[in-house]
């Protein structure tokens, strides 16, 4: 049995050698040079054709698109909420009031995020009328100013550390941009904090009552509405720092508007956002 196996192994080795290079036919890997040439040429032509064809069909497809507005917006009918500073891994903020380096990153992130909101950056923007949708017909689309002062204590102007050093950190909440979204009613952001063993409390928000003014809607898209500034709402943490770490779960949601959903079974960020702040002295 082993003898037979050995023989077949040698045979297969010889077969492999012959497959690699067959001196009688000049075949290399089972094909002669001419055959290889033909097959490579064939695939060159064939794949070239397929590539051209794909490019062409993609081009045709792209022609059906509008540069300014996507063809369909059905999958984002209602905006999600996002928070800043941008969380690193999950929606958790953890810092120690006494250690600046523990919250420095958050401050940097906030500063970076608020850069377009400086008075300098906003000077070309329009001071729109409050409380009404700002619908435009083009061709030039203007953006409305969002004065940082609206954020009051969280504007970074009076306190460049956004309250982190004082144990009253600010978190910015914003609604996702959706082209053409026209909120109904008086949309506002409402935030509640829940600490273990304590009652749920409403947290202070700026602008007052967390109002999002209708003048910032609708949004006309990146291309037409390049200078658009999103309205922001800041939520400030008003727990006092103590020696024991304070863990608070904050939930913010959109209220006051019929067409802005704030609850969905599957989408935990549709019109609401929940995050955790762990603060130590």
């Amino acid at each position: 049995m082993t003898k037979k196996d050995k023989k077949s192994f040698q045979q297969s080795l010889a077969e492999w050698k012959l497959f690699l290079y067959n001196p009688t036919t000049g075949a290399f890997l089972g094909r002669t040079a001419k055959s290889w040439g033909l097959i490579l040429l064939f695939y060159l032509v064939f794949y070239g054709f397929l590539a051209a064809l794909f490019t062409f069909t993609m081009w045709v497809m792209l022609q059906t698109l509008n540069d300014e507005v996507p063809k369909y917006r059905d999958q984002i009918s209602s905006p999600g909420l996002t928070v800043f500073p941008k969380p690193v891994t999950a929606l958790e903020y953890s810092f120690s009031v006494s250690k600046r380096e523990s919250y420095e990153g958050y401050i940097e992130d906030l500063k970076k995020f608020l850069k377009p909101y400086t008075a300098e950056a906003q000077k070309n923007l329009r001071n729109c009328q409050d409380g009404a949708l700002f619908e435009q017909k083009g061709p030039v689309y203007e953006a409305c100013q969002f004065p940082l002062a609206l954020l009051e204590a969280c504007s970074g102007e009076s306190d460049p550390e956004f309250g982190y050093s004082k144990g009253h950190p600010c978190i910015l909440v914003k609604m996702n941009r959706i082209i053409g979204l026209k909120p109904q009613g008086k949309p506002a952001i409402e935030c509640t904090g829940n600490s273990k063993g304590e009652n749920t409390t409403t947290l202070p928000v700026y602008p007052s009552e967390g109002n999002i003014d209708l003048k910032y809607f609708p949004y006309y898209g990146k291309k037409l509405h390049a200078s658009y500034l999103q309205p922001l709402v800041a939520v400030q943490f008003n727990y006092t720092a103590s020696s024991t770490p304070k863990e608070v779960t904050v939930e913010c949601k959109i209220v006051g508007s019929k067409n802005l959903k704030n609850y969905d079974d599957r989408d935990k960020f549709l019109g609401r956002v929940a995050f955790k702040i762990t603060m130590r002295a």
């Binding site: 055959s35 033909l38 097959i39 064939f42 695939y43 064939f46 794949y47 397929l50 064809l53 794909f54 069909t57 993609m58 497809m61 792209l62 059906t64 698109l65 300014e68 507005v69 996507p70 063809k71 369909y72 917006r73 999958q75 984002i76 905006p79 999600g80 909420l81 996002t82 969380p87 891994t89 999950a90 929606l91 914003k174 996702n176 941009r177 959706i178 082209i179 949004y219 898209g221 990146k222 291309k223 509405h225 658009y228 969905d264 599957r266 989408d267 935990k268 960020f269 549709l270 956002v273």
Partner: protein, 1019 residues
């Protein structure tokens, strides 16, 4: 022993009493002597339990006890693999291992995720479970299919229970042979199959055919004498499943079921290994190819992913995706269904397939070793020729319409027909008046049956004629006299003479004659008429026919008055100077469908070899008449005879045909046999024993042929097993043969094999199409993963979605291809070469993977990109978006238009992408299905609508997709969403292109056969 003695005496006493009753006492002493011999033998064979009385037999209760102890009298089928092993084999065979690996990787991945983050999603657990379920379900399905085809066999063998005439409770009863127990007294007569191993207690002119056991085709006389210590040699034992040819006998059952001699042989036969079927080899080859591709791409991209700094966990998940995409999960189940559909179709054509894979084996058969009797012939003696008035007349031998057209006006015919009618002991079984004559059941031996039927057809009611010519004396045929004689009163009331009629071996009959009847007149038998007789005799004998001579004599009324008492022992009547009337020859004629079938085999490149135990002359005659030896080919002997030279001088190259006898075969070496097999296209093996069949089969297999063997005897079972496909006869076949065979011919007809071959070849072609169809979309399923890994676009096609293609939309279409008609006459090409013509060859894999598969991927990607672009993510944005896209806490991912998406919104879009990709593949699979209808011909030549099942397949694809997209759109676990109707049409141009491209391919193949294109593009 001591306890048994009194019982033995009681048997003797009763035995003697029995004899007194039945034999009118005249040779009591003789029988008594025999009894003692039998009893002596019984003392040697101390196995049995003599607890009965001969005339009483066993009592029912005794029998029931013994039956409970020994089990039924049936050969137990060869040891089956335990069901659980069969089931487990299905669980690990084929692609199952790969899928198990995938499932386990899933669980491992979840384990890693869970250890890092307790709240990680259960997606991987679900996927692993789904994969495991897929394996288990397809395994159960395959197992069920196997079991179903085995059940067909089981029910079949129960359909024809053997009966036995047994004495129980002192009554003669007919019971199923299965219920026989040791000690039962059974009676057998000519034509019966012996129902168990029996020791004869009483025999009259009993002869048995032991050929299925020993290979000797000569009938063996049986008596009650104990002649040899070896049970195979001694004359007083009849073996289970052998046939009693003539005479009657009473015997006691000494062994039942597996303890019989045949049972021992059958269990030996199960030792011969079953050859792996060609299709099993092919499927294994195919699984290796696909698994090879899956593993190499999987490992390659695992390495790429790791070196691209993907986390190992992600890389593992990619690996799972690649495996799932590469493995055609539904294919093996589809193949099973396809095979069983063909098996069903074949069963309708009287080929019952035991082993599903054998369906295809028949198609690749290149040599058929066929039995003669029953398979090529009708297995019934039929009158073929008559000779009287110095003339040979031909009789009609076809199966159904039996109109004799020869001249029946001669007076000689009147006399001859009378002899045929009267000198015959065979009788129709009563109650068959409505059955066509040729199909009626007859009690009597083969020749007598033939004569009875012949005379019934020509003359009408034979039994009535016999009644009118009352029989007064009779000597039945026996092999020493070689004649049969009977004396009748004539039906002419004025004629008081007795008519003595006689038939037998022609030369013996002629010896007794002094006159011959010509044109109704008696003439003296002179030299010239005797010569004419011999010429006719030789001629008919040379046709391989069994010739009988007929003569008669009217006994003068003076010498033999009406009251004369004829004594057959004393022979008190004349036995010479009779009047010779004529000859009649019989043959087991070929089935009328066989010559056609043989011609078909020949054009299909299949060599038909006849293997028979019959005489070479008969074998050759039948071979010639069915075309196994074609009309213009000669054997060495024929040439020698024609040229009038010695056999040795003939140039062997000139001879196309050869008749090899078993004796010659015995002296041949393997090389000589190989030479015979290769150098003669037309071969007949005659006078071979069943064991030699095995040698012949092995010889054929040395030529790399796929060999089909037909057989019916127990001793055929090793050859049936050894053959690539063993074909047992459904009617004549023994259970052992059926057990060893892969296929059972329900009508024992050779022509059915040929239809089977046709089906087998068709299924091979169609399986190729099915596999090509199934493999194509694997690339379209695989590319999304590769692009996802390399380019970083959101995953275009989910793993679950892949499973819905493989096990959902694609199943019915791939089965539908099994109904495709042949492209050209598949019976006009050579059988496929076992090692060269593979099921999955390089062009098939290359064309499916790299041509159509790639085109399909492009089409599906187009749909995918369209959906994303129209929702806001242009293709340029998608590139390298993967990491951000999949972050759970990024809920403001910006699209190309500045809009921001939450994670769930993206996920939903991703599922829409899956659905879009899925629809893209589905639409193009419709085109793929249509192009796979043919491999060479244009679709328009084949006809788009000839195979209606294809349209059922297409409808099923669309309906399943509609249900998945619209019906189950809200079930998020399945990752399907509602897709805008227009996206269903995005891939249509690509589908159309696939069709056009394949038409061009086929056109070039047809235009330039043998060209570079043909070699690389024809699969």
């Amino acid at each position: 022993m001591g306890q048994k003695t009194p019982q033995i005496y009681s048997v003797e006493l009763n035995g003697a009493k029995d004899m007194k009753q039945t034999d009118k006492g005249d040779d009591k002493d003789k029988y008594r002597g025999l009894w003692s011999t039998c009893l002596e033998l019984r003392k040697n064979h101390h196995k049995e339990h003599v607890t009965k009385e001969i005339d009483l037999g066993l009592s029912s209760t005794q029998a029931a006890e013994l039956l409970a102890r020994d089990g039924p009298n049936a050969l137990s089928p060869p040891q089956e693999t335990p069901e659980i092993i069969k089931f487990l084999k299905q669980m690990v065979g084929g692609f199952s291992i790969l899928l198990w690996v995938g499932a386990i990787l899933c669980w491992i991945a979840y384990g890693i995720q869970f250890s890092n983050d307790k709240s990680s999603s259960l997606d991987n657990v679900y996927l692993g479970t789904v994969l495991a379920l897929v394996v288990i379900l397809t395994g159960i399905f395959a197992y069920y299919q196997e079991a179903k085809s085995t059940n067909i066999m089981a029910s079949f063998s129960k359909m024809i229970p053997q009966q036995a005439l047994v004495i129980r409770d002192s009554e003669k009863k007919i019971i199923p042979a299965e219920q026989l127990v040791v000690g039962d007294i059974v009676e057998i007569k000519g034509g019966d199959q012996i129902p168990a191993d029996i020791r004869l207690l009483f025999a009259q002119g009993c002869k048995v055919d032991n050929s299925s056991l020993t290979g000797e085709s000569e009938p063996q006389p049986r008596s009650c004498e104990f002649t040899h210590d070896n049970p195979l040699e001694t004359k007083n034992i009849g073996f289970y499943s052998t046939t009693c040819l003539e005479g009657t006998a009473t015997g006691m059952v000494i062994n039942t079921g597996d303890r019989t001699i045949i049972g021992h042989i059958a269990s030996l036969a199960s030792g011969v290994g079953n050859e792996k079927t060609p299709i099993a080899t092919e499927i294994e080859h195919f699984v290796h190819i696909v698994a090879g591709v899956a593993i190499s791409i999987g490992v390659l991209f695992f390495i790429i992913a790791v070196s691209m700094k993907y986390r190992v966990l992600d890389s593992i998940i990619f690996l799972i995706g690649i495996i799932v995409a590469n493995v055609p999960e539904g294919l093996l189940a589809t193949v099973t269904v396809t095979l069983s559909l063909t098996a069903k179709r074949m069963a309708k054509k009287n080929c019952l397939v035991k082993n599903l894979e054998a369906v295809e084996t028949l198609g690749s058969t290149s040599i058929i070793c066929s039995d003669k009797t029953g398979t090529l012939t009708q297995n019934r003696m039929t009158v073929a020729h008559l000779w009287f008035d110095n003339q040979i007349f031909m009789a009609d031998t076809s199966e159904d319409h039996f109109k004799q057209t020869f001249d029946q006006s001669s007076g000689t015919w009147a006399s001859l027909s009378k002899i045929i009618t009267l000198c015959n002991r065979a009788e129709f079984r009563p109650g068959q008046e409505r059955v066509p004559i040729m199909k009626r059941v007859v009690v009597g031996d083969a020749s007598e049956t033939a004569l009875l039927k012949f005379s019934e057809v020509v003359l009408g009611d034979v039994m009535e004629i016999r009644k009118r010519n009352h029989k007064v004396a009779e000597i039945p045929f026996n092999s020493t006299n070689k004649f049969q004689l009977s004396i009748h009163k004539t039906d002419d009331p004025t004629d008081k003479r007795f008519l003595m009629v006689m038939k037998g071996a022609p030369e013996k009959i002629l010896e007794k004659c002094s006159t011959i009847m010509v044109n109704g007149q008696e003439q003296p038998l002179d030299q010239s008429t005797a010569e004419a007789f011999y010429t006719a005799y030789m001629e008919l004998g040379g046709l391989g026919e069994r010739v009988l001579g007929f003569c008669h004599l009217y006994l003068s009324a003076d010498e033999f008055p009406e009251t004369y008492s004829f004594d057959v022992d004393a022979m008190n009547f004349p036995m010479s100077n009779l009047c010779f009337v004529g000859l009649l020859s019989m043959i087991d004629p070929p089935r009328s469908t066989v010559p056609d079938a043989i011609t078909k085999c020949r054009s299909a490149g299949i060599k038909v070899i006849m293997v028979t135990g019959d005489h070479p002359i008969t074998a050759k005659a039948i071979a010639k008449s069915v075309g196994i030896i074609s009309a213009n080919s000669e054997t060495v002997e024929d040439i020698a005879k024609r040229l009038n030279i010695a056999v040795e001088q003939v140039n062997k190259q000139d001879a196309k045909a050869v008749v090899v006898t078993g004796m010659e075969l015995k002296d041949m070496s393997e090389d000589q046999l190989d030479e015979v097999l290769t150098s003669y296209p037309e071969i007949v093996f005659a006078r071979t024993s069943p064991q030699q069949k095995l040698i012949i089969v092995e010889g054929c297999q040395r030529q790399d042929a796929v060999v089909a063997v037909t057989g019916d005897g127990v001793n055929d079972s090793p050859a049936l097993k050894k053959a690539d496909i063993g074909i047992a006869m459904g009617i004549a076949g023994s259970d052992a043969a059926k057990n060893a065979a892969d296929m059972v011919l329900l009508d024992d007809n050779f022509a059915s094999i040929v239809t089977g071959v046709e089906e087998g070849r068709l299924i091979f072609d169609n399986l190729k199409k099915t596999i090509a169809y199934t493999l194509t979309k694997n690339i379209a399923e695989l590319c999304p993963f590769l692009i996802y890994i390399i380019v970083g676009v959101p995953l275009p096609l989910g793993t679950i979605t892949i499973l819905f293609i493989d096990l959902g939309t694609d199943i019915v279409p791939s089965i539908a291809l099994a109904y495709e008609k042949a492209e050209s006459d598949i019976m006009n090409r050579k059988p496929r070469h076992k090692k060269k013509d593979r099921l999955v060859n390089k062009p098939l894999a290359v064309y499916s993977y790299l041509h159509i598969g790639l085109m399909q991927s492009l089409g599906a990607f187009l749909v995918y990109f369209t959906v994303y672009a129209q929702e806001g993510f242009r293709p340029s944005t998608l590139i390298n978006l993967r990491v951000e896209w999949e972050k759970d806490f990024v809920n403001n991912l910006e699209d190309s238009y500045g809009q921001e998406w939450t994670r769930y919104q993206r996920k939903y879009l991703e599922w829409t992408g899956y659905t879009a990709f899925f629809i893209g593949i589905m639409i193009q699979q419709i085109a793929d299905l249509i192009i796979r209808k043919t491999r060479k011909n244009s679709i328009f030549q084949q006809g788009l609508f000839r195979n209606k099942v294809i349209w059922v397949g297409i409808a099923s694809q669309i309906i399943i997709a509609l249900i998945l997209s619209y019906g189950l759109g809200s079930i998020t676990a399945l990752n399907f969403t509602m897709l805008r109707p227009q996206y269903w049409f995005v891939a249509v141009p690509h589908a159309f292109l696939i069709w056009v491209y394949d038409e061009v391919r086929k056109l070039f193949i047809r235009l330039y056969p043998g060209s570079w294109w043909d070699k690389n593009m024809y699969y």
